[in-house]
């Protein structure tokens, strides 16, 4: 039974991968901010912690595949133990990412420990600050702790798409439609100080939220119309 489930997951992940790559070939992508930051990171080869909101995982992960993983830039991604996570893990491995299973929602979780080791050994990491289950647009401490303890800066990313599907999942996952215009923005790397009090940690979480929200507004408004999917921008 488990083998059958594993086969179905592998099959589904392969199908999703090809659907994304076929869709991706039709997307008209423009980097509206931060192209030079991507270039700087690729050239420097230093680890960073790529971060984006959960509902933007599909295109942001695809961008990392196109721009980094295909060029053998090592990235480890944290994927939850859920059924969706299993699909995500297959997809990430197929794209060449290192996969770490678990969550970063708690300070010393297994997932965070494995990411810490990966970054300490020179790999970059992907964390979803509001994953794996929300609340939407609220940064959990894991990403900040990882950046704090490894010294790797957080690299915020966001995209918007016209037109796009918004799925019925808790996060309203955004999937650009075929031939959609997709705008991507990359923020300045956020360096987290090594020494932080509990209050400082919260304010760093808030800083990540503010920067991700700012990028979302920037990409949404780059289409010349007011955003219809704007994060609340405040706790």
């Amino acid at each position: 039974m488990a083998r059958l489930r594993g086969f179905k997951t592998t099959w589904a992940a392969t199908a999703i991968r090809w659907v994304i790559q076929i869709l991706g070939a039709t997307w008209r992508v423009r980097v509206v901010a931060g192209e030079e930051i991507f270039e700087r990171i690729r050239t420097a080869g230093e680890p960073v912690v790529f971060s984006f909101w959960h509902n933007r995982v599909l295109f942001c992960a695809y961008s990392l595949y196109r721009r980094f993983l295909r060029h053998r830039f090592p990235i480890a991604i944290l994927v939850s133990h859920s059924g969706d996570g299993e699909l995500g893990a297959h997809l990430a491995r197929a794209w060449g990412a290192g996969v770490v299973r678990g969550s970063t929602s708690r300070g010393g979780s297994v997932g965070l420990r494995q990411l810490y080791r990966a970054v300490s050994h020179g790999s970059s990491a992907v964390t979803i600050p509001d994953g794996p289950r929300g609340p939407l647009y609220r940064c959990q401490p894991g990403v900040v702790v990882l950046a704090q303890m490894t010294g790797a800066p957080i690299l915020p990313m966001a995209f918007a798409s016209r037109p796009a599907w918004k799925l019925g999942s808790w996060d309203r996952l955004i999937v650009p439609k075929p031939f959609a215009r997709v705008h991507l923005a990359v923020g300045e790397p956020l360096i987290v100080p090594r020494e932080l009090t509990g209050e400082d940690l919260e304010s760093e979480q808030r800083r990540v939220e503010i920067e991700l929200d700012r990028l979302v507004r920037e990409v949404e408004e780059s289409f010349g119309v007011p955003s219809t999917d704007r994060p609340p921008g405040g706790r």
Partner: protein, 78 residues
């Protein structure tokens, strides 16, 4: 490595991460209140224990480690 050796390594790790002297570390000490082991330090602590003792600590096991004595007891049973 026997239980005493593991306890010795754990005490060293706790002293390094908390900034306390080894002989100040007592089993009844609370990791957060007495040793200041917050989330980032908890990450360091767990990674150091796993790496130096070549063990794995699950999230469920980690959640039960509230005092120095809890760590000693866990290592005795590990």
């Amino acid at each position: 490595m026997n239980a005493d050796d593991k306890k010795h390594v754990a005490t060293e790790v706790l002293a390094e991460i908390s900034g306390n002297a080894k002989d100040e570390i007592r089993p009844e000490m609370d990791l957060v209140a007495d040793l200041g082991i917050d989330s980032p330090k908890a990450l360091q602590l767990l990674v150091a224990l796993e790496d130096r003792l070549e063990i794995e600590i699950s999230d469920e096991e980690a959640a039960k480690l509230n005092t120095v004595g809890d760590i000693y007891a866990f290592l005795g049973a590990a």
